[in-house]
Symmetry: C2
Subunit: 124 residues, 2 copies
DNA sequence: GTTAATTTCGCAACACAGTTGCATAAATAT
DNA sequence: ATATTTATGCAACTGTGTTGCGAAATTAAC
């Protein structure tokens, strides 16, 4: 396990206390200069590796991060759906929505990226 | 409708004759210097607007383009699944796979980005 | 406690995808 | 033939993410 530093704890707390997924840029803002850009990238990488958070590629190509809630540390699955609002920009996890896919049997799935974009409840 | 230029026709042909989705970089390679980088970006933008091609954000965040086959020009839908191979890098459309999602009724879906990554038939 | 090994951090520099402004060129319209 | 519109090329720029490296901070060993 990697070390628990001040920056790491703070970043994890920011992500865990957010109802929506956050981008690196947003996290950096909230860190208010207490951490270097690159350090934030590396901490996020560590947190992903330790199954504390998961990464979602938004429809604009930018990576966002959200806390892992329903997935235990032993069985880690991120096959749930994400919704990205085109107005307010919020990226929400639908952890209850696991989509079942029918692919040819010789296809081996390693990673999911299931996101729909549109207007969220607030903006519609 | 935008104008039909040499570059536009060539790029459309490259995309239509490809069994997999292509990135801007790959298209630029196949254009062999006949077109400027920026021009290619703008032509792709036009082709998307005219419903000739659709854009897929790959798991690495890079945008890829594929020809529109099953969708007519009147009813345009891109709710199908994509598969991105982590070994050979190929991004394939599964136009027959339309995933059904159950979102809260006040959520309005505008755009789909349904991609799974892993090992394709050739690489598994 | 002092020293050595490991990990983290900050800074600079880089790679890459994508965008914008502007002048020129080409195609349409009058 | 002239004016208007659209497309192109070039340069410069933005934003996201990465890599190398030396310094600082932790942890382990003695
Ligand atoms: Zn919204
Ligand atoms: Zn999620
Ligand atoms: Zn493959
Ligand atoms: Zn497709």
């Amino acid at each position: 396990m990697s070390r628990n530093t001040v920056g790491k704890s703070k970043i994890l707390e920011i992500i865990q206390s957010s109802p929506i997924a956050l981008s690196h840029a947003t996290i950096q803002e909230q860190m208010k200069g207490t951490c270097d850009r690159v350090t934030i990238y590396r901490i996020l990488e560590r947190l992903v590796k330790e199954n504390e958070i998961h990464r979602i590629v938004n429809v604009n190509g930018v990576v966002n991060f959200a806390a892992c809630k329903s997935c235990s540390h032993s069985s880690h699955h991120h096959d749930h759906l994400h919704f990205s609002c085109t107005t307010c920009g919020e990226l929400t996890c639908f952890e209850d929505q696991s989509v079942d896919l029918k692919l040819p049997s010789n296809f081996i799935i390693q990673e999911y990226q299931l996101t729909v974009a549109g207007l969220c409840g607030k903006c519609s």
